[in-house]
């Protein structure tokens, strides 16, 4: 049996797989340990509990940060009990900002933001966010738009797209 093929063309640096433990985003003052998030039974991605002082979380169905593909890290914009939470200012990020992800292998993967986009949750472009890519990418996701007080939900998701540029020892 042939091994599963990888995307043929690879652009930029790539790290071997290692699970992420911490995220630091100097531009918006984020310093968070990372929990791990899988999928809910309905196939949507898990999010941290709203009722705790929740850290951001890495989606375990995505590549580890620095490996080829779209690594996904989620964080709440706010919570019911705590007010502003870990990714409250994600929408303030802009191209060129650095995102530092510390990994279990004691390396820090250094990403630089390519773009920031906002999508309605009911028209979320799964392939753009989660689809195969030719580099080590990172997607930071939180909620956005005008909060609906009746449904207690936000209508949109803010997605920050970043690419690995380098790595160093933690």
């Amino acid at each position: 049996m042939l091994p599963a093929p990888q995307v043929a063309r690879v652009v930029g640096p790539i790290l071997t797989a290692s699970e992420p433990t911490q995220i630091n985003i100097p531009a918006i003052g984020v310093h968070s340990v990372l929990m791990q998030l899988g999928q809910n039974p309905d196939g949507t991605v898990q999010t941290p509990s709203l009722d705790e002082a929740s850290p951001a979380g890495w989606y375990t169905g995505s590549p580890t940060p620095g490996a080829i593909g779209p690594s996904v890290i989620l964080g709440h914009v706010d919570s019911r009990v705590e007010g502003r939470t870990v990714f409250y200012r994600l929408g303030d990020m802009r191209p060129g900002d650095e995102v530092l992800v510390t990994r279990a292998d004691a390396t820090v993967a250094v990403f630089v933001v390519d773009r920031v986009e906002e999508y309605p949750k009911d028209n979320f472009p799964q392939f753009t966010v989660y689809g195969n890519i030719d580099h080590a990418g990172l997607r930071l996701i939180t909620c956005g738009g005008q909060f609906n007080k009746t449904t207690r939900t936000y209508p949109d998701n803010v997605v920050v797209y970043a690419s690995l540029v380098s790595s160093h020892a933690a």
Binding site: M1, L2, P5, Q6, V7, T21, A27, G29, V33, L34, M35, L37, G38, Q39, G43, T44, V45, Q46, P55, Y59, G61, S62, P63, P70, V72, H76, V77, D78, S79, R80, R84, R89, G91, D92, R94, R115, E117, E118, Y119, P120, K121, D122, N123, P125, Q126, F127, Y130, G131, N132, I133, I141, C143, G144, G145, Q146, F147, K149, Y154, D156, N157
Partner: protein
């Protein structure tokens, strides 16, 4: 011993994070597999699409979205037969594949690139190659979504694993073709015009780097209500609404703190 204690003290926050883990099974550990591809225009069609297939045991679940294809055929919704082709190079044909030079890469001319039909992506019933030209179970109209779970045959499963599976969606708008091609008969079903069975979209399927979750992400509880920076941004004029519903941040209204 002392050294060990120090190391433990360094990671209380990390340990807390790990303690609340409710992670699902790791993608690679489930034994399931997922493949995906973007569907790109071929033969001058105006279409595009996305295709993903999750395989669990012998069951396959396809999620596909297609748009921009020919809309009608003889006054009815255009039937776009579609298949997973297998067992060849695993690529989409280039214009060089048009060996008879009529300007259309026919299904037959594409075979060396993408191979024979392994699975028919029918809307009901048979998914074998035998259903390959059954127009009644084709995707209908210029835009459609196709979501179906079916039993995957061993040959298609093997081709997916080998990276040689290719999705082909057939059916061109005849008015976009040369006169000669408009008048030509299908290489597959002589009672149909060449346009009806020729490839319109093609996409090579590769193993998914990420196991694609459904829908958006519920990452807000509302304690800051409209106070979130992203909310304030959305109220301003700093967004450009693009086709397809994406809102692109062109400039930031809020000053950086």
């Amino acid at each position: 011993m002392k050294k060990k204690k120090t190391a433990l003290l360094l990671v209380p926050a990390l340990a807390l994070g790990v303690a609340v883990l409710t992670s699902g099974p790791a993608f690679a550990a489930t034994g399931d597999a997922s493949y995906q591809g973007t569907l790109d225009s071929i033969n001058g069609s105006k279409g595009s699409g996305t295709f993903s297939i999750k395989v669990s045991g012998d069951q396959a679940t396809v999620t596909e979205t297609v748009s921009g294809l020919a809309e009608t055929f003889s006054g009815n919704p255009y039937p776009h037969v579609q298949h997973i082709h297998i067992g060849a190079k695993g690529v989409c044909p280039t214009p060089a594949a048009d060996t008879n030079g009529d300007g259309v890469i026919s299904t037959t001319e594409g075979l060396p690139s993408y191979g024979a039909i392994g699975t028919t992506l029918s809307t009901s019933g048979d998914t074998s190659p035998a259903a390959g030209t059954d127009l009644k179970v084709a995707g209908m109209g210029g835009s459609f979504t196709y979501n179906r779970t079916f039993t995957l045959d061993a040959a298609t499963a093997a081709s997916l694993k080998a990276g040689t599976a290719v999705v082909v969606v057939h059916g061109l708008d005849p008015t976009t073709l040369t006169k000669a091609a408009q008048d030509a008969k299908s290489d597959l079903v002589p009672s149909l015009p060449l346009a009806a069975t020729s490839p319109a979209l093609c996409g090579s399927l590769k193993a998914s780097q990420a196991n694609m979750p459904k829908g958006g992400v519920q990452t807000g509880g509302g304690s800051t209500s409209s106070g979130a920076d992203t909310g304030l941004l959305a109220l301003g004029a700093g967004f450009l609404v693009a086709a397809g519903g994406a809102v692109i941040v062109r400039r930031r209204l809020a000053a950086r703190g």
